[in-house]
């Protein structure tokens, strides 16, 4: 997957309000190859989630080019497209059908998802009754069982408990070794360091640094320490 010169502008306007342009991304270029583990760091509003949405094909940029190179992707965040009024089971089936599976195929994935998520009997409860960590588990387990080429994770693993974090990290490192890629957005620099080889630091929609994960995170942390 290759993104070249991506710019995204949001516009908020109303009859009685002045048009407000927000430059979410400005001239961002990044390449993700099979086997890559890329971390994206930056403060709130830096454009991290917007970049993931462009990678997922959800959002078309105002400028620049996206070449997916035929790689399928799954974008996961806590604001996931799960319906709170439905049970975990029904959400798994619906998500599978959205991704092109038949209802029967989607149902056949249920045991693996339930086992991986560790939700047990809670899988039959409405998703709106889940804690943030439980939602994260359901979201991660559903997506990983759909076997995408690129996994785009937005702050997802930081909400689970220690047990689930270790389990999910292990699964990702196992499954995403050779031909699969991970793009991971997080405020947690230590997790980015553990999971990723490369990193991008975004600031106000622009790439501030890109390269080896240790170097980028050191630069980022120095900048943050300098400001406080």
């Amino acid at each position: 997957m290759k993104l070249s010169g991506i710019s995204v502008v949001y516009s908020e306007s109303g009859l009685f309000a002045k048009a407000d342009l927000v430059h979410a991304l400005q001239d961002v270029s990044v390449e993700v190859n099979p086997g890559d583990k890329l971390g994206i760091i930056g403060a709130n509003g830096a454009g991290k989630s917007t970049l993931l949405r462009v990678m997922a094909g959800v959002l078309r940029p105002n400028a620049g080019e996206v070449d997916s190179r035929g790689m399928s992707s799954a974008f996961l965040s806590l604001q996931a497209g799960f319906d709170g009024e439905l049970s975990g089971i029904r959400n798994i089936v619906m998500h599978g059908m959205l991704m092109g599976l038949t209802r029967r195929e989607a149902k056949s994935r249920i045991p693996a998802v339930v086992e991986m998520s560790g939700l047990g009997e809670a899988i039959h409860r409405r998703v709106e009754t889940y804690s943030t960590g439980m939602r994260g588990r359901l979201c991660f387990s559903t997506a990983i069982n759909l076997d995408p080429d690129v996994l785009l994770l937005d702050e997802l693993l930081s909400v689970g408990d220690q047990d689930f974090r270790s389990k999910s990290e292990k699964i990702m490192l196992e499954r995403f070794q050779q031909d699969k890629a991970i793009v991971y957005v997080s405020h947690n620099a230590n997790m980015v360091k553990r999971l990723c080889q490369r990193a991008i630091w975004l600031e106000q929609g622009r790439v501030r640094a890109v390269g080896k994960v240790d170097e980028v995170i050191r630069e980022y942390q120095e900048a943050v320490a300098g400001r406080s």
């Binding site: 959800v58 604001q79 996931a80 497209g81």
Partner: protein, 256 residues
């Protein structure tokens, strides 16, 4: 596949079914409201118009129930389409999907509900007036109405996503359209010079045709059905083009 890929049609029907289950589970009387809603609306019109017009036509209650049930199918489909894209923010912001999917889900749910209500209306009409050979034309009317409802719902979903304020106009527009669709009066009873204007509204003609079959054992105007269905099919193609052409704008409106 037509309008959206085949797997998304499967998803739309399943999602519509789940929406109905979810909606029914919220209320104490559950799915009974699917029946109670048209009965309540019919009762209100019946009481109001029987008092206003003591010499109301014979079988006025059956006349009303046919009008109300067909109207509610259209009104539910179009009314719920106003917020369908913003309501799907979670999915729209995570998965690349054709936006036409969302009005299709809304209209599918309204259609499933209508199928249930209409089966009961048919059973009642059949037991009172007896079935007749013209009932065989009912599917043609229902397909025409489904296409018209979907075309109108898609347009409303598109416009209300671009400019949210239009939701209020759609609500008022539906009320105006309800009064112009001949739910509680026969178009034939209107002044002759106005009748052609009333019949520009497809819902007015559809309600007239349903009554013709169910209450008066008459043959519907099949040429009108074919003409209208083809017009709605072209309208849907245009709606699909608009959804694709302005996909970027719609996504941003939903996500922002």
């Amino acid at each position: 596949m037509i309008l959206i890929p085949a797997h998304l049609w499967r998803y739309a029907f399943y999602r519509a079914y789940l929406n109905l289950i979810g909606e029914a589970s919220k209320y104490y009387l559950g799915w009974l409201w699917w029946l109670l809603e048209p009965i309540a609306m019919t009762s209100v019109f019946f009481v109001v118009f029987t008092y206003l017009r003591p010499n109301a036509m014979q079988d006025f209650s059956y006349f009303l129930i046919v009008g109300v049930t067909s109207w509610l199918w259209f009104a539910n489909g179009v009314g719920n389409a106003t917020a369908c894209l913003h309501g799907a923010r979670g999915i729209v912001s995570q998965i690349k999907l054709p936006k036409m999917l969302f009005p299709i889900i809304v209209v599918s749910a309204a259609t499933f509900k209508q199928a249930f209500v209409f089966a009961i209306v048919l059973a009642v009409m059949g037991s009172i007036f007896g079935p007749n050979q013209h009932w065989l034309y009912l599917p043609a009317l229902m397909v025409t109405q489904a296409l018209f409802t979907l075309a109108a719902a898609s347009t409303v979903a598109f416009l209300c996503c671009c400019v949210r304020d239009l939701r209020f106009i759609v609500t008022s527009g539906l009320t105006l359209m309800m009064f112009c669709s001949g739910i509680f009066f026969a178009i034939d009873a209107m002044p002759a010079q106005w009748q052609a204007y009333f019949r520009l509204n497809p819902m007015a003609v559809l309600i007239e045709q349903y009554r013709l079959i169910l209450l008066y054992d008459g043959q519907p105007d099949l040429f009108w059905c074919v003409k209208t269905a083809l017009g709605c099919a072209l309208w849907l193609v245009a709606a699909k083009w608009c959804f694709e052409r302005f996909d970027l704008t719609l996504t941003r409106r939903v996500i922002a």
